[in-house]
Symmetry: C2
Subunit: 345 residues, 2 copies
């Protein structure tokens, strides 16, 4: 089965089990030069149909697989894209990861994942390390500063999700549509004062969302205050409940769903009825947003699509195309569930 003509089996390697055929093995079997094999396998049309066939058969017989490293060494191409997220436990990133993985592997690219643990420094290090081994890099909600990002982008194709960086391809949910839907819906339900619970100071998105809320509130002639949270988690949401009550707002929009869920839990524990006494709107429509009672109304960002888009942009750039010069905007939309509604007395 293995090799017919010459005596030796393909080179042994590893801990001495399986072997792996090389183009040299194929060349020997097919009676051609290794470089011809290389061309047959990667430069379509460069060799005659006849030789092509012979070589392909030989490759199939030997169960050949290119050695990615041997290929990467001279070419630099690795068929790999890197994804860096701030926090793997944060469900916001789940959909991004999935979108990226799916789109990537459909095009025969493998996803390499790294986490920055929310630290800008770790992030830079991880990015540097990754960048040398991948064809392109996706930064999801990066914490590092713009200059670092541009420095990375100067080296290899980089795409950014959830943040706008001048000169670097970005995929950013356009919050305005979703927010204005949310605010209009709240206004229509009789709310007059709303509160925005902000996320981490260094997050680019927290500012964008507050801008959107403020603008929409003005337009609808509602009062709007910004409250700070200690951290963008369920716990942070619980802690901010007191401030929310003191603010006198009857509707709350939070920086993300986790805050909303924590807030809702704490308010309900304190006897408030949602949405009769207070409406809560989250952000992102993460996994589990509909597990709550009432289910959470939220502004959905199409995060899976962000992942998909980012990969697509990256792969396009790898083909030699230019990245988009404007940030790619994906639409957000309000998902109305039970946690927002008419204000009862």
């Amino acid at each position: 089965m293995t090799s017919s003509g010459a005596a030796t089996a393909p080179t042994k390697r590893g801990r001495g089990e399986k072997s792996s055929a090389t183009i040299y093995d194929i060349a020997k079997l097919a009676g051609v030069n290794p470089s011809t094999v290389s061309r047959a396998l990667s430069k379509p049309g460069r060799v005659s149909a006849k030789t092509q066939k012979i070589i392909e058969d030989a490759a199939a017989e030997l169960n050949y697989q290119v050695n990615p490293f041997a290929r990467a060494l001279p070419t630099g191409r690795t068929q790999t894209i890197g994804l860096i997220v701030a926090d793997i436990t944060n469900p916001t990133f789940f959909d991004i990861i999935r979108g990226a993985e799916t789109t990537g592997s459909a095009r025969d690219y493998t996803l390499v994942l790294a986490e920055s643990a929310e630290s800008p420094e770790t992030e830079v290090i991880a990015a540097r390390r990754l960048l040398s081994t991948v064809d392109g890099l996706i930064l999801a909600s990066p914490r590092m500063d713009d200059d670092h990002i541009r420095a990375l982008a100067a080296d290899k194709p980089v795409a950014v999700i959830n943040r706008e960086v001048k000169g670097v391809p970005c995929v950013v949910p356009d919050v305005n549509k979703g927010i204005s839907e949310a605010v209009r819906s709240l206004a229509a339900n009789g709310h007059e004062n709303l509160a925005y619970v902000a996320g981490p100071k260094q997050s680019w998105m927290t500012a964008r969302r507050w801008d959107g809320v403020k603008a929409a509130a003005e337009w609808s002639k509602l009062g709007a205050v910004r409250l700070e949270s200690s951290k963008p988690t369920v716990d942070g949401g619980r802690q901010v409940a007191r401030d929310v009550l003191e603010s006198g707002a009857t509707a709350v929009i939070t920086y993300n769903d986790l805050l909303a869920i924590g807030l809702m839990q704490e308010l309900q524990a304190g006897g408030m009825r949602v949405p009769d006494q207070i409406s809560i709107v989250g952000f992102d429509d993460i996994f589990g947003a509909d597990f709550t009672t009432p289910a959470l109304t939220t502004v959905r960002s199409p995060l899976g699509e962000c992942g998909t888009r980012a990969v697509t942009i990256l792969l396009d750039m790898l083909q030699g195309h230019d990245g988009p010069d404007e940030a790619v905007r994906v639409e957000t939309e309000l998902v109305v569930r039970g946690s927002s509604g008419r204000l009862l007395a």
Copy 2:
């Protein structure tokens, strides 16, 4: 162009931006042979302290980084481990991914992620592809059959999570402790008949859990029936609600939390009060299990720990140690929340 002659800058490469120093650049700068540089940088103690210093300084000055591919080519070592999960959207895997990523990167290994989309065939293909580029592979709840797994394991170190495969290192939550706690707690609360909602037929775990439930129920002298679900998701949980009601059971243990959540939603929508009329216990304690009202009682599997353990085993094997000959068991425990309790009338 690079090799000989005078004061050229390090080789340009890529789309003509940054350059990357090689050991040859360092060698030239330090006035030694490239092989000495290689040794200084990877074989501690092989060169004299003095030369070591000179080389390290030169490396630092040139801002040197090894080229992972060049290193991988002759050695086969890639500093990379692969993780294959059945479904990236399934929150069960989130913690596994995170545990693996964290432990891996602490030891300077990068995680490469792939998804099998629940298909045994895709899984085998992904595994094969990954295996050639990583030092070791983790299979989380694999869908392929035992022989395929053993074949992979013959090639390179492989660790399996959530399933036991003879001859391959496995990390498996020991469901018995958690289940017996759950069943005893239900019995103590006056329940006499319980139902187990099973997961996918091909899942090894669904059988183990049913075995556990059956045994514990017998021990506590409770009746136990097994019900099938169409799919292990929230939706599957909703669909099985009718069967649950018809079974007459007053307590339900489900294959996983998603089923439990869907079931609870559906039962509540139909007017049942949880836990007054029916108790629900899930499995895994996934993200969001405490978002529900009442919060979900569940048997927690330490999934993050599974990821960590699997990586540790793998890295140990890469050091030349043997893998554990017995499956590594991690403890499960009952997390009592609001969805289970005393049966009222």
